[in-house]
Symmetry: C2
Subunit: 393 residues, 2 copies
Amino acid sequence: MIDIKTAQELVLLHSSTITKIVEFKIENALDYVLALDVTSEIDMPPFRQSAMDGYAINKANHSTYSVVGEVKAGDNNNLLLKVGEAVRIFTGAPVPDTANAVVMQEKVTQDDSLINIDGEIQDNINIRPRGEQIKEGDIALVKGTVIKGSHIGFLASLGVTKISVYQKPSIAVIVTGNELVSPGKSLAFGEIYESNGVMLTAVLNELGYKNSSLIKVKDNYETTKKSLSEAIKNHDVVIVTGGVSVGDYDFVSKALKAIEVEEIFYKVKQKPGKPLFFGKKENVSIFGLPGNPAAALSCFYIYVYPLLKKSEGATTTNLQRIVIPMISNYTVQGNRAQFLKAKIEEDGVEILEGQSSAMIRAFGNANALVLIPENSTQIQKGENVKAILLPNK
Amino acid sequence: MIDIKTAQELVLLHSSTITKIVEFKIENALDYVLALDVTSEIDMPPFRQSAMDGYAINKANHSTYSVVGEVKAGDNNNLLLKVGEAVRIFTGAPVPDTANAVVMQEKVTQDDSLINIDGEIQDNINIRPRGEQIKEGDIALVKGTVIKGSHIGFLASLGVTKISVYQKPSIAVIVTGNELVSPGKSLAFGEIYESNGVMLTAVLNELGYKNSSLIKVKDNYETTKKSLSEAIKNHDVVIVTGGVSVGDYDFVSKALKAIEVEEIFYKVKQKPGKPLFFGKKENVSIFGLPGNPAAALSCFYIYVYPLLKKSEGATTTNLQRIVIPMISNYTVQGNRAQFLKAKIEEDGVEILEGQSSAMIRAFGNANALVLIPENSTQIQKGENVKAILLPNK
C-alpha cells in the first residue's frame, strides 16, 4: 500500500493535458485556465494621470500660480503651462505634459484666478506615471492562471476583450450499486438514496466543471463493463464511486481489468479512502473512489481536484494548505494518516464531529481538511497542524 | 469620519432582508440561502447497514458458525438467524434483525458452509445503527445555510429533491466617468477602459449573483440623477463606482441628495477606500465605492459582500478571518487602518507588491486581505496579523 504523498505524485505524473484551446470573451472565462500569455497592448495608465482633485502646476520658485484652465477626467486637451501657471484638475484626468506636480485642493488657497500654495512641492507628486501599473508589451497575465473576477477586471482595464483558455476536461461520474434509488422515490428495505453522484456533480459544478455526465449502474458485471468502456471512450476523466473493494459483487475492479485500464495504484495508507483506485487508459484518467460519501468527497479534493487542474494546464494544482493551531485537543483513532473534516475559525482550527466515512453531514460545516500524519495519537490544543482549505467556502 | 468596525456594523444594521422565498431543485440551489429548515423524512441509514464485507452473525459461545445465506447491498431480504448462524454480507447491505455483529471477511476462515471466527466479537461491531447520521424528524439543514455541493449531497442522501431558498437580491452596478471607454474600442488621450463594472459584475457572478445589471453613466448631473433613480426603483442593492469625491464634476453625491437617499455614512478611516458612501432609500441599499478599482474591490469584500449575504438571510455574513503569521517584514505607509492585498502560503501570509488603489493587478495573486490597525508602523516577520480569506480562491 502506498502513502498519500506517493499517491498524489503518481496522480499528477500520470495526468494528461488537454490541448484544445478555445477563445472566450473575458466575462465568460471565469474558472477557465489561460492557455496563452496575455500581453498588454497599452501602457496603464495610458497617460500621466492625476491621483487627486486639485491643481496641476508648472513649478516656479514662488508660491502664487495663475490658473489658466481646467482638465477633468475624460478631457483630451493637453494644455500648455508656462512656469508659474496652474490648471484646475480632477482625479483621473490627464496631467498636461508641461505640468510637473499636482497639488491637492485642500492645500491650496484660491483668490479669483490666482492660487497660493504653501510649502515645498515634490516633483511629480500626485501624478500616476504613464505605464505605472503595466507597460505596453509586458505580460499582463501568464499562461496557467485560473481566471477569477479580479483578473477579468484587470484584463478589461487593458482593453482585452477575449482570451485563449484550455477546454475543460470532459468528466463522467459513474455510481454503482443495486441499493441506490433516485431521490423522490420511496425506499424499500435495504435501499438508500443515490447521493454520491448528485454530490460529485454539484461539487464539480461549483468548481466550474458544469457539464459532467452522471451515469448510474447496477451491480452487474456486463453492464458495469459496458458503462465504463463507453465513459472512457467519451470523456477525459472518469470518476467511479463504489464497487472497488473486495466484495464478490464489486464488479468495478474486474471490469476495469477486462477493458485494459492500467492500474497506477490501488489502496492508499489513509483514512478515509483506503480503497482508492487510480488508473489510465491511453489519455483517460480513471478514479475509483470509495462508495462511502465522505470518503469519496475527501478523495475528490485530495486527488481528483489536482488532476483536473493539471489536466487543464493550471500552474497551481493543489488546494491551498496552511499551518494552523488546533482550538481543542483531539484524540486520533487508528494509526493511518487521516484527513479530518474541520472548521477554520479566527483563532485556529476545530476538528468537527461525525468523521465516519459514511457521514457526509460534517462536510457541510467544514471549510478545511486537517491532515494528521500516521501514528499520531493525541493532538494538543495550540499545536500546529496542516490544513487544506476547501474551495468555495 | 467613522472607523471600519462602525462602518461594518452600520451596513449590517441597515441591511434589508429579502422576503421572497422560491423553491428550487437541490442541484440548482448552489449558493442560495436556505429559507426554511429542512427536516429529514427518513432515518439515515434507513436500516442497520453493514460497514464491511464479511459475515453477519447471531453470536454464540463457540467459534464455528454455519452460513445459511447471503445479503448483498440492495437486497431486501431479512433472513432469520438462529444463534450460531451466519450470513455472507457485503458493505452497504441490510444486516438481518437477528444478527448482532458483522465480522470482517479477513478475520474468518471458511470451510464449505462453515466459518470459524477467532477471538472475541464485540456486540454490533461493523454495523452502522439505523439513524446513526440523522433520525426521521430531525433537522438536517438549518435556515440561513448557504448551500454548497456537500449540502446538496447530504440532502440527496435523505431523499430531498427540492428546497426553499431566499431569492437573491437584484443588484445594479453603475459606473460613472467621461473617461471610460468600452474595451474593444481604441483610446483617445485622457481616456481609459471601463473595468470597474466588468470586474464587479464578474466578481458578483463568481459569488452566485448571476444577473446584476451594468449601467454606464457620463459625468452629467441630470443623467446621473436619472440613472440612479431608475436603478434604485428596480433593484435591491445599487453599487456605484466613482463620482463620490469632492470634485466639481462628481455628480453622484449631489444626485443622491436630490433623490433623497439617506446618508448612513460617508468616509471611513481606512486605506484604500476612504471616500466610501453608504445610504438607504426605503429598502434599497446604495453603496458609493471609490473609482479606483483596487479600492472598489476591497470595499466590495469588506462592506458589500456582508450586506448581500445578510439581505438574503445567511447566518454567516462576513468572510472568514484568520490570525496568521507574517512571512516577511512589512513597513506600513500612512497611519489609517489598511486592507492589504496578500497571499496566504503554507507557512504564513505575504503582503503583495502593488498596493496602490489604482492598481487592480495585485488582486489577481491575492487570496486574502490583511487588516493592519491604524497607527501601525512596522510589522515583523513572524508577527501575527488578521487576514480575511477572499472567496473562490
